[in-house]
């Protein structure tokens, strides 16, 4: 028993280590990509590491209270948890994580855990910009959840399962088994809401840097900020892995995972680089418009 | 014949009474109309009980109980009429005293102007 737990813990650490580094490098790479789009050279690929290190070795820090202190912890716990409840690589023991203890619904709701903690931490800072950012973020989130939820329901109805592992299993055996091909409508709805989920342009109103300086984490600094940056990498990785598992056939090896998630992320970066920003109410209306209709269509197709 | 006449007269008086109640504005005239109405009713009552050529409703050897029907004037309507007249008088008196009071309060005898209570 103890041995099992120890092995599991070891595997978990390996898995986390991989996803953290991957997430950070992915972030750096994508910054490079964005720079190329703008005709710049861009920051070094390892810049995220330096930033995190710098933030962690700052000499001073400010805390506004217990919730403020715990906010980033919640956030990172949310990111880690989300990742840990998704099997990252199909068939791999190391990267199976804790997918046995909960299915897709758990993952979808666990995302809220970090959001809530972060929002609470930001709230305790007493800074008005934080809740403004949170309010925007939450509002936008509730909007993009709709097409995503519909899409998930559609594929759950199609495959009669909610287990992520099973989704991946059912997509094995050829590229045409991927849900992106078997249920394109659901995939489109989900991929549009993925844009909102990754909070890049055109849905970046939440962190509008000039208007409400960086939004929720406006008071976060030093190791708090470092923690948030770490989470950004992990959480991004988790989301990418989730979408890969759900719509793009999952991954049977770390390599295929890297390739697929890279491409999915690239898509959001390209969209982000080419569009201006929506206002919060505009993005709500956007998500509840066409993408929701697509989602409903995907569901209705399953019902007939 | 006379019975019919009485009844027709009574009916006519009733109609006159109703007409008066419904059309006169003066409250005393309305009260008079009620009296007329009452009189009409009384006439009918009497008319109903009356039997032409009937004898007085006294039961004796001449008029055993078995022959009563159709041969004597029915005494009950007459008794009723008496009661009714008494009641009618009482009501009329009450109405008139009301009329007096109404006049002292409203300074009018027109029923159309005594309508502060409504809805």
């Amino acid at each position: 028993m103890m041995k099992d737990i120890a092995i599991k813990a070891g595997y978990t650490l390996i898995s986390l280590f991989v996803i953290t580094n991957y997430g950070l490098l992915l972030g750096g790479t994508m910054a490079r990509v964005r720079a190329k789009v703008q005709g710049r050279i861009g920051q070094p690929v390892w810049q995220p590491y330096i930033d995190i290190i710098k933030n962690n070795v700052l000499r001073t820090g400010i805390s506004h209270g217990v919730m403020f202190y715990l906010g980033p912890v919640f956030r990172l716990a949310g990111g880690l948890g989300t990742y840990l409840f998704i099997p990252a690589v199909y068939g791999s023991l190391v990267f199976a994580n804790f997918a046995f203890s909960g299915d897709l619904l758990l993952v979808m709701y666990f995302i809220f855990f970090g959001q809530l903690g972060m929002a609470l931490g930001a709230g305790q800072s007493g800074h008005p910009y934080s809740p403004i950012g949170v309010a925007r973020g939450l509002a936008q989130m509730s909007a993009f959840e709709v097409p995503f939820a519909l899409s998930v329901i559609a594929i759950a109805a199609q495959y009669q399962t909610l287990s992520v592992t099973e989704f991946v299993a059912l997509q094995q055996g050829g590229i045409l088994n991927w849900i992106v091909f078997t249920n394109p409508l659901a995939t489109i709805a989900a991929m549009i809401s993925f844009l909102g989920m990754s909070m890049g342009n055109p849905f970046s109103i939440v962190i509008a840097p000039q208007e409400i300086p960086i939004g929720p984490p406006t008071e976060m600094q030093s190791s708090f900020l470092g923690m948030l940056q770490t989470n950004r990498a992990i959480f991004n990785g988790a989301k990418l892995v989730l979408f890969m598992n759900l719509y793009f056939g999952g991954a049977t090896s770390v390599l295929s995972m890297v390739v697929k998630t890279f491409l999915i992320y690239l898509y959001t970066v390209i969209v982000g680089a080419s569009f201006p920003r929506f206002r919060a109410d505009q993005s709500i209306r956007f998500f509840l418009g066409i993408p929701t209709l697509i989602g409903i269509a995907a569901v209705v197709v399953q019902m007939i | 014949m006379i019975t019919q006449l009485l009844i027709i007269l009574g009916a006519a008086l009733i109609l006159v009474g109703f007409w008066g109640v419904l059309t006169r504005k003066h409250i005393v005239k309305i009260i008079i109309s009620f009296s007329i109405l009452d009189t009409g009713i009384h006439l009918i009552m009497v008319g109903i009980g009356y039997i032409k050529d009937g004898s007085a409703p006294i039961i004796d050897q001449e008029m055993p109980v078995s022959r009563l029907a159709g041969n004597v004037v029915d005494p009950i309507p007459s008794a009723l009429v008496l009661t009714a007249i008494v009641i009618g008088v009482a009501v009329t008196a009450l109405m008139l005293s009301y009329a007096v009071q109404l006049y002292t309060f409203y300074k009018t005898v027109s029923i159309e102007q005594i309508k502060e209570l409504k809805w």
Binding site: G102, Y109, F112, V134 | K25, V91, M95, Y98, E112
Partner: protein, 1103 residues
């Protein structure tokens, strides 16, 4: 056996001698009259006692002068006469007492004579069997009434009296003509003889016979004030002395009603139908017109007319129905009559007392409130008063003879009546600060903004403004003993005692009848709440220490719960624990109350017991009785709130509407009792019944469209009560659904093969969504929570209507967990409100440092409520979606997900705006909530954590409870629960969450172990400026403005508009109707004659 002649003889004798007695002393006639009335009453009582000993020997006929009818006038005493006389004479006695005891009483001389004459006349009306004698007594009654009306010597009284005279004269003219012709055709005036004749044969020889009977009927009917020719009567009720009005309404009208009943045996069936129609029209339209009425006595007049109308209707009906039914329904008429006599008289008296004491509000007069409530409740037919039982019986009979339309009429009229009566109640009860209807949130004109230089000045101004604002929203009721000293001088407790006797009679009659009705099904236990309520109110009136009272109550409830929970199993047990244990824990917080809150504890206790009774009732009647008790008690509890008059009224009316709808449903579906007894294979119910019953349930649950009572009721009630209502009482609807679930299994909508349950499911889904959206835009925290409850109950409805094993488990699971965290939330918020004295969220902020435990409670409960893992709420969501997808309700699942996302939004706003952000100056010195609030919170938190760690603890029993109905759909493997779609291991999730939480926390502690400075609330980066005031720095108002901008146009309150439209329509209908009451006596005369003509023509079958 005392001969009835004595009554008449003594009465007349005394009446004539009274002027002589007056010479002996002013007070003597009063005493003599009262003694006489007492003698009358005693005689009547002795008859009742004798008759009930030997029913078969009666009725006895007494002849005057020694002759038999038709040569002499005969009087009859039967059970029914004796009963009516007891009631009438008691009422007259009370009336006499009232008249002689009240302050500035002018009850002497002629008035006493008239009064006595009236009573004798009424006694005669009841006793006599002779048509002409009836006329004489009628005239005696009328003349004494005409004279009594004007006894207060007021202008309007004379006007009304004259109109009454006109109408009465026309009526007696009709009657007299009818009598004389009837005599002509039949040769007798003795009713029994005429009845014995073969009227049909007689009709053949004398075609005018029907006409004669009709004229008699018409004469009496007009005396009974049928709509629309009753303007004169209502004028009289309004204008005369209230005590006289009470006499006219209670004594006079009752006599005439009985006379009408007597001659009803002459009616041929078609005439009876006309009478029924006339009665029904009178009932429903008088109540409709009453709705618009603002003057109290006139309103009571309409109510009287309506009540008499329904009795007239019954009298007509008993001629049409079968013998058994006729007797049944007649008994209900007698009960209704008695109910009417005592409660209407009581109300008239009360209105007199209000006038005397110049009371505009009775909020601080507990006894007055109790009396008032008793009379209103009994008039409106609420349990446990006699009218409730009477109406139940009547409706049962009507349902058995398929007279659905009449049932609807009766219930509609009752609803109108309850509407205006309780509007009066709420108006009198309401606080000075109460706007009368649900108020829009009050936002201070502007939050003071100041420059830093003038900061001090404007901050004090801001403080003053906020304090003022806070003062106006303080929740607690004032201590009852504080009151206006001048009012005390005008008090007259003796008079109130007379009124109290009347109310005691009503209550006692109600309880006795209840016992009689419920004994048949061995459900006497159901009356316990009434007993508890009465006893508790007495305790409160005696000013017993409220904490002792509370402990007694809680002990009683515990004992009761123990007893009934032992006998329950399955779903019943689940709901039993939900209702009883859930409320018991919440009662702890009542301990915080510092002073006696009149009626609070008894009403809560009775409410909880009624909820428990729902579980053990086995018949339709028992269930409906408990349901109504619960409704009435909860609306009374709501009305205790300071600004709750509008909300309470709305709640009462919606609940009554729902209950009536349910009642019709129950009537359409007699097998309902079987359902309650646990029989599952019952006959297929009609779809209409299913609909109506589910409307009853959905009103209670506040489903979309029927929800508009909900926010105000939950928000404006006192905090503890809101908590109880939203976490426990709202589940009663769910319970009803579960009990009647067999109803939904088969019935299909008429338009196709869609089951009713699908419709319910959609309603549930949209209720969840709408509730969440409404909650999103509230500034008032209690409104937020109220709408949140609405949404949550929507989920339960959705899950229930799945009609699958998993769906039901979900629904029950959500019910239990919702009880937990909504109670926690309400309690925590109650603590916050208790300290902050404001309900507007944006006026709070930064309270986390002042109230950490409350914060943790709220945090836990919002995590649970929004379904975020690892807490127990996620289980509900997981079950729900799994169940929905398994069943194939995909779109509903989408709606539910959207709703849950929105729920997350408002919950975050709740916790943020209250506990985070900037602490306000006025809250700087605040303390944690009182311990009474904290204990239940801590208990609840422990339970939540337990269920989160080990979900099987909760889901297991629920699964077993549902298993008898469906086959199992989820499997446990260790701590993991498997459905056909997915799996969930609450235990492992908890451990993983704790693990991933501890890891970063340790990292942070390591990195931040030194030089992290705790700073104060203004040490923020404020665009290189410094904040000036916490108020201007706290972001809390209109939090989700962009959502409003994006979707605001879809949030038009359609339901509110629709119901406002309905109310306006009804109101204006009433307003239009009452235009016929022009006030002109001549018009009234015309109406009477026209009415007579129309009735006669109808009788002839047309023109």
């Amino acid at each position: 056996m005392v001969s009835p002649l004595y009554i008449l003889g003594i009465g007349l004798g005394i009446a004539f001698l009274l002027p002589l007695f007056e010479k002996l002393g002013k007070k003597i006639p009063r005493i003599i009259t009262l003694i006489t009335l007492m003698v009358f009453t005693l005689i009547a009582v002795s008859w009742v006692v004798m008759i009930s000993g030997a029913v078969d020997k009666f009725p006895v006929i007494f002849n005057t002068i020694g002759f038999k009818a038709p040569f002499a006038i005969s009087l009859q005493v039967g059970l029914i006469e004796a009963l009516v006389l007891v009631m009438i004479n008691t009422a007259a006695l009370l009336s006499g007492l009232f008249l002689s005891l009240r302050k500035d009483s002018h009850w002497e001389g002629k008035q006493i004579v008239l009064f006595l004459t009236l009573v004798i006349g009424v006694n005669g009306l009841v006793l006599t069997r002779d048509l002409f004698n009836l006329f004489v007594f009628l005239e005696i009654v009328s003349i004494s009434m005409y004279a009594l009306i004007a006894s207060n010597d007021e202008k309007h009284a004379y006007e009304a009296g004259f109109k009454y005279l006109i109408a009465g004269s026309i009526a007696s003219a009709f009657y007299l003509i009818g009598v004389i012709y009837l005599y002509r055709f039949t040769g007798t005036l003795f009713i029994d003889q005429i009845v014995a004749m073969d009227l049909a044969a007689l009709q053949a020889t004398h075609p005018g016979l029907v006409f004669a009977i009709a004229l008699i009927m018409l004469g009496l009917l007009i005396e009974l004030k049928p709509f629309p020719s009753n303007g004169w009567a209502i004028d009289a009720y309004e204008a005369s002395d209230p005590a006289v009005s009470a006499m006219i309404s209670a004594v006079g009208a009752s006599g005439v009603v009985f006379a009408f009943y007597k001659i009803s045996s002459l009616f041929p069936p078609e005439m009876a139908e006309i009478v029924v129609a006339s009665g029904a029209v009178t009932f429903v339209f008088s109540q409709l017109v009453g709705l618009r009425q603002k003057r109290v006595r006139r309103m009571l007049g309409y109510s009287s007319v309506g009540q008499i109308g329904i009795i007239v209707m019954i009298i007509g009906l008993q001629r049409i129905l079968k013998i058994d039914d006729a007797q049944m329904i007649m008994s209900s008429a007698i009960i209704l009559l008695g109910n009417h006599i005592f409660s209407k008289a009581g109300l008239f008296w009360l209105s007199d007392i209000f006038d005397q004491e110049q009371l505009r509000r009775v909020r601080r007069r507990p006894l007055m409130i109790v009396l008032f409530g008793v009379f209103l409740g009994s008039l409106a037919g609420l349990p446990p008063f006699p009218a409730f039982w009477a109406k139940w019986r009547m409706i049962t009979v009507l349902a058995e003879s398929d007279k659905l339309f009449l049932i609807i009429i009766i219930l509609l009229g009752s609803l109108f009546e309850a509407g205006y009566l309780f509007r009066w109640f709420t108006t009198l009860l309401r606080d000075e600060s109460d706007p009368g209807d649900i108020h829009e949130e009050q936002i201070p004109e502007d939050i003071p903004v100041s420059s830093s230089q003038t900061g001090v000045v404007s901050s004090t101004r801001a403080l003053a403004a906020l304090a003022e604002n806070a003062g106006s929203v303080v929740e607690e009721l004032p201590v009852l003993s504080v009151e206006d000293p001048t009012a005390a001088e005008k008090r007259n407790p003796v008079v109130l005692a007379v009124v109290a006797i009347s109310s005691v009679i009503v209550i006692a009659a109600g309880v006795l009848l209840g016992a009689e009705f419920l004994r048949a099904s061995n459900e006497l236990l159901l009356l316990i709440p009434v007993a508890v309520l009465t006893a508790g109110i007495l305790f409160d009136l005696l000013h017993l220490p409220h904490r002792i009272h509370l402990i007694l109550a809680m002990a009683g409830i515990s004992f009761y719960s123990y007893r009934i929970l032992m006998g329950l199993d399955g779903i019943y047990l689940v709901f039993g624990i939900l209702f009883l244990t859930g409320s018991l824990i919440q009662m702890i917080s009542l301990y915080v109350k510092k002073s006696l809150h009149f009626g609070l504890i008894p009403m809560i206790t009775a409410l909880i017991l009624s909820l428990g009774n729902l579980l053990i009732s086995t018949t339709r009647l028992g269930f409906f009785f408990s349901w109504e008790m619960m409704t009435v008690l909860s609306s009374l509890l709501i009305l205790r709130g300071r600004k709750a008059s509008g909300a309470g009224l709305r709640y009462l009316l919606f609940s009554l509407g729902g209950a009536y709808s349910m009642l019709i449903g129950l009537m359409l579906y007699p097998d309902f009792s079987l359902l309650l007894q646990g029989v599952r294979d019952v006959s297929t119910p009609p779809v209409l019944a299913v609909f109506l019953i589910s409307i009853g349930a959905m009103v209670k649950m506040g489903s979309l469209g029927l929800h508009i009572w909900l926010p105000g009721a939950y928000a404006e009630a006192e905090n503890e009560i809101s908590s109880l209502l939203s976490s426990v009482v709202s589940k009663a609807g769910l319970f009803l659904l579960f009990v009647t679930s067999s109803l939904y299994l088969i019935p299909l909508l008429p338009s196709g093969n869609i089951p009713v349950s699908v419709l319910l499911g959609w309603i549930g889904a949209f209720t969840a969504l709408a509730g969440a959206f409404f909650a999103l835009f509230q500034e008032d925290i209690k409104y937020t929570l109220a709408y949140s409850s609405m949404g949550q109950v929507g989920y339960m409805l959705l899950a229930f209507s799945l009609m699958t094993h998993l769906g039901w488990v979900t629904s029950l699971y959500m019910a239990v967990t919702h009880l937990l965290f909504k109670a926690l939330l309400f309690l925590a918020v109650a603590g916050v409100l208790y300290r902050t004295k404001t309900r507007m969220m944006y006026q709070m902020g930064g309270l986390i440092k002042r109230m950490p435990i409350s914060f943790i409670t709220v945090l836990l409960s919002i995590i649970a409520l929004s379904g975020v893992p690892p807490l127990t709420g996620f289980g509900g969501k997981w079950l729900l979606y799994t169940a929905l997808i398994e069943k194939g309700w995909y779109l509903q699942a989408g709606v539910a997900m959207f709703a849950s996302a929105i729920a997350f939004l408002y919950l975050f706003r709740l916790i943020h705006v209250i506990f985070l952000g900037q602490l306000k100056d006025e809250h700087r010195a605040m303390k944690e909530a009182p311990i009474g609030f904290l204990i239940p919170q801590v208990v609840g938190m422990i339970v939540i954590m337990l269920f989160s760690m080990y979900p099987s603890l909760l889901i297991g029993p629920l699964q077993r409870a549902v298993t008898p109905f469906f086959s199992e759909s989820i499997i446990w493997e260790g701590y993991t629960v498997f459905s056909t779609l997915g799996y969930w291991n609450g235990n492992a999730v908890m451990y993983v969450t704790i693990g991933v939480f501890i890891f970063p926390l340790a990292w942070l502690l390591l990195m931040q172990r030194k030089h992290t400075r705790m700073v104060e609330q203004f040490n923020i980066v404020f665009a290189a400026e410094r904040p000036d005031r916490p108020e201007t720095t706290h972001f809390g108002y209109n939090f989700f403005a962009h959502y409003r901008r994006a979707l605001g146009m879809y949030l038009t309150p359609w339901a509110t508009r629709w119901w406002t439209g309905v109310v306006t329509l009804t109101d204006s209908l009433g307003g239009t109707m009452r235009r016929i009451y022009t006030g002109n006596g001549q018009t009234y005369a015309f109406q009477i004659i026209l009415y007579g003509t129309v009735l006669l023509l109808l009788l002839r079958g047309g023109f």
